[in-house]
């Protein structure tokens, strides 16, 4: 027991380091819609071969705010920046971002 250096400095990789393995994007559509069609749109925008999975984060939720959230797992070799740019450029997409790691402080 005793005073030690604050936990994160020896525990965390980097405070703002994004999760990179596997490459994941969180995508939110601006409006509610048919989840299957929204999923299809993600695949079309990013490229069919670049998407491993595009699943609703809360498939059981009818709340528009949550029902429009998708977790997109990119295939190996796919470019995260390119996928993000493709999604961000579409009017139906409110945002696309890499999740930022959280760690104990």
């Amino acid at each position: 027991m005793g005073l030690r250096f604050p936990l994160p400095m020896r525990w965390r990789r980097n405070p703002s380091e994004p999760v990179t393995d596997p490459k994941i994007l969180m995508v939110k559509f601006a409006r509610s819609g048919d989840p299957a069609k929204q999923q299809e749109k993600i695949r079309r925008l990013v490229g069919e071969n670049s998407v491993r999975n595009a699943d609703q984060l809360f498939p059981d939720d009818s709340d528009d705010e949550l029902a429009t959230l998708f977790e997109v797992v990119l295939s190996e070799g796919a470019s995260l920046d390119q996928a993000k740019a493709s999604l961000d450029g579409d009017d139906d997409v409110e945002y696309a971002h890499e999740p930022v790691e959280r760690s104990g402080r």
Binding site: M1, G2, L3, R4, F5, P6, L7, P8, M9, W11, P15, S16, P18, V19, I24, M26, K28, L57, F58, D61, E65, L66, L69, E71, Y95, H97, P99, V100, E101, R102, S103, G104, R105
Partner: protein
């Protein structure tokens, strides 16, 4: 055989474990047999002799029965001899209430004898049934004594004297103040690395624990167990440390170690949708839009969200602490100075003890703990649960208090440390004071 000549039955003993309840048969033959047993009627010929040869007769004859009493005696019966009372009660009861007819209580010298007798009495031709009433009697609610009971002395938590922080935030003073209520029913959510639910100082504290990661519910790093102990370790149980509030409704939602972004988001939603009143987020990092969306949703649903300022010693914002309306907490040391690692910024609300904080760690080896069971750690992670526990106490004192009322009480009740006047980006509105906060609500 008549019992008239036998010595009177002995005084009844008080313990119900020695009792056997019997229900005598109310048929004409059985009643005649019983009258013979009691010596009221002449010995019969034929079937009615059964009573005089039965188990009950031999027990009475051998002096093994301490007493026999009708369960519902009438005044006339009280004047009769014991065995007569029993027999006559059948006749009286039959006239009044068939269901209660023939109910008697036999008392024996020991519980063993009573249990032995039960089996034999159930084979007696004059007895409908016999049973041992001990458990049923124990199930009755105890009558409250009108005399004032002495409370058993509280068992002092042996490590309490090493919890300097509880003195600094004046928890004992708060507990003695008028209107103080323990936060046993306030639902507190902890999104962290899980907990060691088998920790002796966290027994009965958690009502729900779930893992939103790919790992088990078990806390492998120790962080979540440490945070939870600061909030609600069982107080005065003679074990380890004291918690700050006594919430018995903690919900542990594991989203760290290993970290899962989608799991973390789902944990926030779970807390929001499952009645969590105050949410402890001893975690942080860079800005994350989906986290912000879910935290805002939680705030809209009335969850009071409390987050650690971060440990980089920096003025760069850490999230979720920097999200608007999240109560953000920095760390102080034993001399009320700002801990050298505590982040600063305009979004800080207040500071709380966050250096050398003794709390629970898993009972098995874990990644961050240098020992098992208890360890002292620094961090704004450790300061945050003191504020969370204080909010639970505020909600216990004033159920339905709004986030704004809670924030106002925390900030107005805080101690102005470090030469603070008003607000500073280092100390916020001051160092947490539980007594001060509770006095404000």
């Amino acid at each position: 055989m008549s019992l008239r000549s036998r010595a009177p039955l002995r005084m009844a003993l008080s313990q119900t474990s020695r009792d056997v309840v019997i229900k005598l048969k109310t048929t004409t033959t059985a009643r005649r047999s019983l009258r013979v047993l009691a010596g009221i009627e002449a010995p019969p010929r034929g079937a009615a002799r059964a009573a005089t040869r039965g188990a009950m007769a031999s027990m009475i004859a051998d002096g093994r029965v301490a007493s026999i009493e009708p369960l519902f005696p009438t005044p006339r019966l009280r004047r009769a001899r014991a065995v007569e009372r029993m027999v006559l009660s059948v006749d009286e009861d039959v006239q009044q209430d068939q269901e209660l007819a023939g109910l008697n209580m036999m008392r024996f010298d020991s519980e063993k004898e009573a249990l032995d007798a039960c089996g034999k009495l159930n084979r007696d031709a004059t007895i409908e049934y016999a049973h041992h009433p001990e458990e049923r009697f124990k199930a009755l609610p105890k009558r409250r004594s009108t005399r004032r009971r002495r409370r058993a002395p509280a068992k002092v938590d042996p490590l309490r004297n090493r919890q300097w922080a509880l003195g600094a935030i004046e928890l004992a003073k708060a507990q003695k103040a008028a209107g103080f209520k323990q936060a046993s029913s306030v639902v507190v959510g902890v999104i962290d690395s899980g907990i060691d639910s088998k920790h002796p100082d966290l027994k009965g504290v958690f009502v729900d624990e779930q893992s939103f990661t790919s790992g088990p519910v078990q806390d492998t790093s120790g962080h979540g167990t440490h945070v939870s102990g600061i909030i609600a370790a069982v107080t005065n149980n003679g074990v380890g440390i004291s918690g700050t509030c006594q919430s018995r409704k903690l919900i542990s939602l594991k989203a760290l170690d290993p970290y899962s972004a989608s799991g973390y988001y789902r944990a926030i939603r779970h807390a929001t949708d499952n009645s969590v009143q105050v949410l402890n987020l001893s975690l942080g990092g860079g800005h994350d839009r989906t986290e912000e969306l879910l935290i805002r949703r939680a705030l809209r649903h009335g969850v009071i969200v409390v987050a650690a300022m971060g440990n980089e010693g920096s003025s760069l914002p850490s999230y979720p602490a920097a999200i608007k309306n999240v109560i953000s907490v920095g760390a102080t040391n034993e001399t009320d100075g700002l801990a050298n690692f505590s982040n600063t910024g305009r979004h800080i609300n207040l500071v709380a003890p966050g250096v050398n904080i003794l709390s629970t760690v898993p009972t098995y080896p874990s990644q961050l703990a240098e020992s098992t069971h208890y360890d002292s750690w620094p961090g704004t992670s450790m300061a945050t649960p003191f504020v969370v526990a204080t909010i639970a106490l505020l909600l216990a004192k004033k159920p339905g208090a709004t986030r704004q009322q809670v924030v106002r009480a925390l900030q107005k009740g805080a101690d102005k440390v470090g030469g603070l006047r008003g607000f500073s980006t280092r100390f916020g509105h001051g160092r947490l004071n539980v007594a001060g906060a509770l006095a404000q609500i």
